[in-house]
């Protein structure tokens, strides 16, 4: 909402010397937030004066243009009183017109300095200005021609053009629709400074009679009040007066024609949207009803719309002529030939307005007000004001007929315990202040301890006691509310899950990985890039109906795309190696939807809540990581190395160890991993993810080096198995016995199986086992490999004898021999 300060002051008798900054600050603290304070004349310096064109000589030029050599009376503004010679390229004026002239020395917006200069064979001493040159409009088709009497030659043109005006732009919240009018803004301003206020809607209007334009409202719930007035004999060439055009423009709307400008002006003034019909194009009785199935309407914006049976339409004998309260129709639109105007000022059901606007994706100044709620009692006033302005500036007469259909709804009184405001604010507020503040907003207040407060008709947002509390407290001033830190009962700190999540992040950072945050949006292209088969489960994702990008309409089922993109971005920016991780929730669709939408008067039952929570897709916390390029850099310490498949598994195991969880890795084959270098991560009998080398094809697609390591695991599953505090180990002080064994097995036998077999055979004396070498070659034979394990034995109660150690070792080896065909080298 843009409010010219002079317009506010027209209704609010503010202190004359009140700085506009102070006014804006006060209104901000009352809830009308200052968005911008504009002084349109700020970018214009120097002499900008009213001039009267004395002579115009058209001079065709070689370049095909015709320029006008003009002399303009600028009074004494040029210091001589002689006519000023000015070259002008526009043609929309004649001798005798009043125009706006910037004289040499003046500066226009954009730091455009004006000086006398030689052009087209003349010395042009200044410039006749268009709206655009002054930064007050887009119109560049011609110069500004002021209405006769707008000023005298030599007068400062700023006040004439409203360039000395200040405009406060407010951000108006949806509950304060009344402030989408000067009436409302001025009321708040007057309240803020305790000034007198003149309500522009206080106006005597002629009583309703049977002679007005015939109107029938078939849906009084949708349109409780419909007022029609008629003006005839308008001069279709009449233009809006400069002051009105200026105000409309300063308020952010474009001046168009007298009839349109006047309806907009009255809407800005009162907050009540008005619609004007070309009376000569109306056919028969105006009817307000819901649209019929299949009914169509071409609205003022030229769009042909199929209407819904929920839309409120205004019709005449020809059919629909407007989408009630939202936008008029083309067939009855006022034009440059209109001499009869039927003025509609109607009150519409806000919910219906909101739905129609949303359904037809229509936002308009009228719709914005109607869907938030307008004072229903001012329809007659607004229509009368329009009729007055039209006839004042466009001639013609107001028809005596006054159509009023329906009566405005009466606001219900709201019970308010007088102390509630004080209790809610935590601030003592005297009873008199409560009552005074409620009256200041226009409410009727009765009662003592238990007040009955009837809100004013322009405040449909006030329905509950707490709404009134806000009004009372904001007028007292939110800055009066003291600052008291509440004391909660003893808290339990972070949950185990919350602590584990932090630990996971720190562990991964400790492993050299940098956390990234990506948008969780994917699409079929993402799945193609990952090389996923058509029937892959993670292609089954939650789909957004209004994605930002049509290529990524799905909510992520995997975090891999985000980390792969980020890795490629880092390498592209010159990184030699990169290790990234991301933790985040992914979503898997449920077939237990749709999610119910309950009422809000009371808490849903336990069964209803279960149904609700059940319908929400499962959203487990995942971890994805990628290691690409250099993992350990070359340096003075020796050679570095690039990341490979094993780094991914190293991270999985490192994380599991940190969380005290045993994971088992099994050889697997799954896209987007290298089919022979993919480890499946198991927790007991649950598979929680994969780690290994990224498929070379996927590396190419993402622009990542071959050998890039990736992993993705379900952290919720991992955390669920993490023991809170593990049992304390008994640390033996007995000496250690070491035995190394080398076992030859078939290539296909996994190292983990050999280790498990050794472990199983070694018995309780085994303290640790570690694979320290893998060897293949002619010595071990074709299709075989040699695995070297370091076994460490220790007893709790004694020094092991060589015989005991050897027996344990042999038992381990024979277990591996028996189950896996291992042969000791």
């Amino acid at each position: 909402m843009r409010a010219p300060v002079s317009w506010i002051r027209e209704y609010a008798e503010l202190p004359p010397d009140l700085p506009t900054e102070e006014l804006a600050r006060k209104l901000t603290m009352l809830g009308l937030k200052l968005e911008a304070l504009e002084r349109p004349g700020d970018h214009i310096r120097g002499p900008l004066v009213v001039g009267r064109v004395l002579t115009v000589e058209a001079e065709p030029q070689k370049n095909g243009k015709t320029i006008n050599w003009c002399t303009v009376d600028v009074g004494d503004a040029n210091g001589t009183g002689d006519p000023q010679g000015v070259v002008c390229g526009a043609h929309n004026f004649a001798a005798g017109d009043l125009v706006v002239v910037v004289l040499p020395g003046g500066v226009l917006p954009g730091n455009f300095e004006i000086s006398a200069r030689q052009t087209y064979g003349h010395v042009s001493a200044g410039m006749i200005c268009s709206s655009r040159e002054l930064g007050i409009g887009d119109d560049h088709t011609g110069i500004i021609v002021l209405e006769p009497g707008a000023g005298e030659p030599g007068d400062d043109a700023r006040p004439v053009l409203g360039l000395d005006e200040e405009v406060i732009e407010f951000e108006i919240n949806p509950d304060r629709a009344y402030a989408l009018s000067l009436r409302g803004v001025a009321r708040e301003a007057a309240m803020g400074f305790g000034s007198a206020y003149a309500d522009p809607c206080r106006r005597d209007v002629p009583a309703a009679n049977a002679d007005g334009y015939p109107v029938r409202v078939e849906d009084p719930a949708g349109c409780p009040v419909f007022v029609a007035r008629t003006v005839t004999g308008l001069d279709p060439t009449a233009e809006s007066p400069e002051w009105l055009r200026t105000r409309v423009r300063l308020a952010g709307m474009r001046p168009i024609s007298l009839a349109v400008d006047v309806t907009n002006y009255v809407m800005l003034e009162t907050g009540r949207p008005i619609h004007g019909y070309d009376g000569d194009r109306l056919q028969g009785t105006i009817v307000v009803r819901r649209a019929t199935p299949g009914e169509r309407l071409t609205t003022l914006d030229g769009a042909d719309r199929e209407l819904s049976t929920e839309d409120l339409v205004v019709c005449d004998d020809s059919g629909a002529i407007g989408l009630g309260g939202v936008m008029g129709g083309e067939t009855t639109e006022m034009s440059a030939a209109t001499t009869t105007v039927v003025i509609e000022a109607a009150h519409w059901d806000p919910v219906s307005m909101f739905r129609s606007g949303k359904r037809h994706r229509l936002t308009s100044e009228a719709g914005r007000r109607n869907e938030r709620g307008v004072d229903p009692t001012i329809c007659e006033v607004a229509a009368d004001r329009v009729a007055e302005l039209l006839t004042t500036y466009g001639g013609g007469t107001v028809s005596p007929g006054v159509t009023v259909v329906g009566t405005p709804p009466e606001p219900e009184p709201i019970p308010l315990p007088i102390g509630l405001s004080s209790q809610v604010a935590g601030l003592p507020i005297a009873d008199e202040v409560v009552v005074a503040n409620l009256r200041a907003i226009g409410a009727e207040v009765t009662g003592d301890a238990d007040l009955a407060v009837t809100p004013p008709p322009w405040r449909p947002d006030l329905t509950d006691p707490y709404d009134l509390v806000e009004e009372v407290v904001r007028i007292v001033g939110y800055d009066q509310v003291p600052s008291v830190v509440p004391v909660p009962p003893v808290g339990r700190g972070l949950t185990r899950q919350q602590r584990l999540r932090r630990r996971i992040g720190r562990t991964l950072a400790g492993l050299g990985c940098v956390e990234v945050v990506s948008f969780p949006f994917v699409g079929d292209e993402t799945f193609e890039a990952l090389g996923l088969p058509d029937d892959d489960v993670i292609r089954h994702a939650v789909r957004l109906s209004n994605p930002l990008s049509s290529e990524k309409p799905l909510y992520a089922t995997t975090l891999l795309p985000g980390v792969l993109d980020a890795a490629a971005r880092n390498l592209g920016r010159g990184a030699t190696g990169v290790a990234l991780f991301e933790t985040g929730t992914v979503a898997f669709p449920t077939d237990r939807g749709p999610a119910p939408v309950y009422g809000v008067e009371w808490r849903p039952s336990a069964a209803e809540l279960e149904k609700l929570f059940d319908a929400i897709p499962a959203q487990p916390l995942f971890l994805a990581a990628v290691l690409a390029g250099e993992r350990d850099p070359d340096g003075w310490w020796g050679e570095g190395r690039d990341a490979d498949w094993s780094d991914a598994l190293e991270i999985v195991r490192g994380l599991a160890r940190e969380l005290g969880v045993d994971v088992e890795i099994r050889q697997a084959s799954r896209m987007p991993w290298h089919p022979s270098r993919c480890g499946q991560v198991w927790l007991g009998d649950v598979e929680i993810g994969h780690a290994g080398e990224l498929h070379p094809r996927v590396c190419r697609t993402y622009g990542l080096p071959r050998g890039t390591a990736v992993l993705e695991i379900d952290l919720d599953a991992l955390m669920a198995r993490s023991p809170e505090i593990p049992p304390a180990p008994v640390v033996s002080h007995q000496p250690l016995a070491k035995e190394d064994v080398s076992l030859v097995v078939d290539d296909s036998v996994p190292a983990s199986a050999v280790e498990a077999a050794l472990r199983a055979g070694a018995g309780d004396l085994l303290e640790s086992i570690r694979l320290f070498d893998v060897f293949t070659g002619p010595q071990v034979g074709e299709g075989k490999k040699s695995l070297a394990f370091a076994l460490r034995f220790r007893a709790h109660d004694r020094t092991l004898t060589e015989a005991e150690t050897a027996a344990a070792r042999d038992a381990a080896v024979s277990s591996a021999a028996r189950t896996l065909g291992a042969r000791q080298r």
Binding site: L30, K33, N173, R176, V351, F354, R372, V424, A425, Y466, Y478, D479, P482, V484, V485, P486, P488, P489, G491, R492, G493, L494, Q498, R506, A509, G512, C513, V514, E515, V516, V517, S518, F519, P520, F521, V542, R543, L544, S545, N546, P547, L548, R569, N570, A575, A579, L580, T585, A587, P594, A595, V597, Y598, V600, L609, L612, I616, Q619, D632, P633
Partner: protein, 367 residues
């Protein structure tokens, strides 16, 4: 030990004379003292304390002496040998220490050589900011509540007094899922966690909820379709706006430094009544006259918009089954991304979501 000398020859006994023993001893001590390194000392040991050294030979002769002479000679030679051995030990220690000292000098390295065998990792600054905020409140006894990102429409809107025909629904451009009658959204704020918390717990409730939220905003320097909010909710007996103000003043000071307090401006949120927007004292100019006019951070206002807050609307309490006669609540919500940008001076929101390691690495693993 050699046995008694059976070939006793009185001539051979002369070395056992006192002067001779002393002379041999002094010779040995001089050689030991003169040894300049461990190799020279080793030679001195061989010469003067070895099996064929004069004192060793002399010792061997003692047995050949007449019994009456043995005791004295034994004492004399024994003392001499002891003195030599002692000198040897001392000299060895000195020379070894010197040798080690030389070795340590030779082992000198350039400790200014760079480290960096394993580049360090980092956590994302938004993660750190969220934890930092959570910890501020946990320290006061609050708990951290959570909820899912894909949320039921009823929890994101209806339960928060944002009915289907509420104009404020269009204030938050929402991502909806398909089909529309699934009634699921990407939560537009962390406020559904308020509803969840009230449905799951009973008052007193003191929770903080950092989390991801989504709006259909295009991605630019100041907007993102995904961003982070922190929601606070308190429901208890006797709660007032003053408690809200106190909590936020404390929060602001902890986040932005002493003296950075808040200002409330009337505003509108369907789930709170009264509602307020929260401004911070500009942490750059602190609103100081003469400075504030030129402040780029607050654009001369002295205040910076931080978030929204208010008293929990009794309608929300009702929808969540909380007795609004007995309990009152307050709630607030702030942008974590925005708060982080204030704290760090980051100017472009996009840096938070493009995953450049140079950005996150600047913030380390914990604050």
């Amino acid at each position: 030990m050699s046995g008694p000398n059976s070939d006793y020859d009185p001539v051979e006994v002369t070395p056992l004379q006192a002067e001779q023993v002393a002379g041999v001893r002094d010779e040995a001590l001089a050689a030991i003292a003169g040894a300049r390194d461990l190799a020279a000392l080793k030679q001195a040991r061989l010469d003067h304390a070895g099996d064929r050294s004069p004192l060793a030979l002399a010792n061997r002769e003692i047995g050949a002496l007449p019994p009456q002479a043995r005791k004295e000679a034994g004492q004399r030679v024994g003392q001499a040998r002891a003195a030599v051995n002692h000198a040897l030990a001392e000299r060895t220690a000195v020379l070894e220490a010197e040798a080690e000292e030389r070795l340590l000098v030779e082992e000198s390295v350039d400790v200014t050589l760079p480290s960096g065998r394993r580049p360090r990792g980092a956590r994302h600054p938004l993660t750190l900011m969220s934890e930092y905020i959570a910890d501020l409140f946990v320290a006061m006894g609050w708990e951290v509540a959570e909820g899912p990102v894909l949320e039921a429409e009823w929890l994101n809107f209806d339960a928060l007094n944002l009915g289907p025909d509420h104009p404020a629904r269009t204030m938050q451009d929402t991502f909806w899922t398909e089909p529309a009658d699934d009634h699921l959204v990407l939560r537009t704020h962390t406020s559904p966690v308020q509803a969840r918390t009230m449905l799951e717990r009973t008052p007193p409730i003191y929770v903080i909820c950092p989390g991801r939220v989504f709006r259909t905003d295009p991605f630019d320097a100041t907007h993102s379709p995904m961003f982070h909010q922190v929601e606070g909710l308190v429901v208890d007996e006797g709660i007032t706006m003053a408690h809200l103000k106190g909590s936020l003043d404390h929060f602001a000071e902890q986040m932005f430094g002493e003296g950075i307090t808040t200002r409330f401006r009337p505003s509108y949120f369907p789930f709170t009544e009264p509602s307020a927007e929260v401004d911070l004292v500009c942490f750059v100019c602190r609103g100081v006259a003469g400075v504030v006019e030129h402040c780029r951070t607050c654009k001369g206002e002295g205040w910076i918009e931080w978030g929204g807050c208010g008293v929990v609307n009794p309608r929300v309490l009702a929808a969540c089954g909380i007795d609004s006669e007995r309990y009152r609540g307050f709630a607030f919500g702030m942008g974590i991304d925005r708060s982080f940008m204030f704290r760090s001076g980051a100017e472009d929101l996009r840096a938070l979501f493009e995953g450049d390691v140079r950005f996150a690495s600047a913030f380390g693993t914990d604050w």
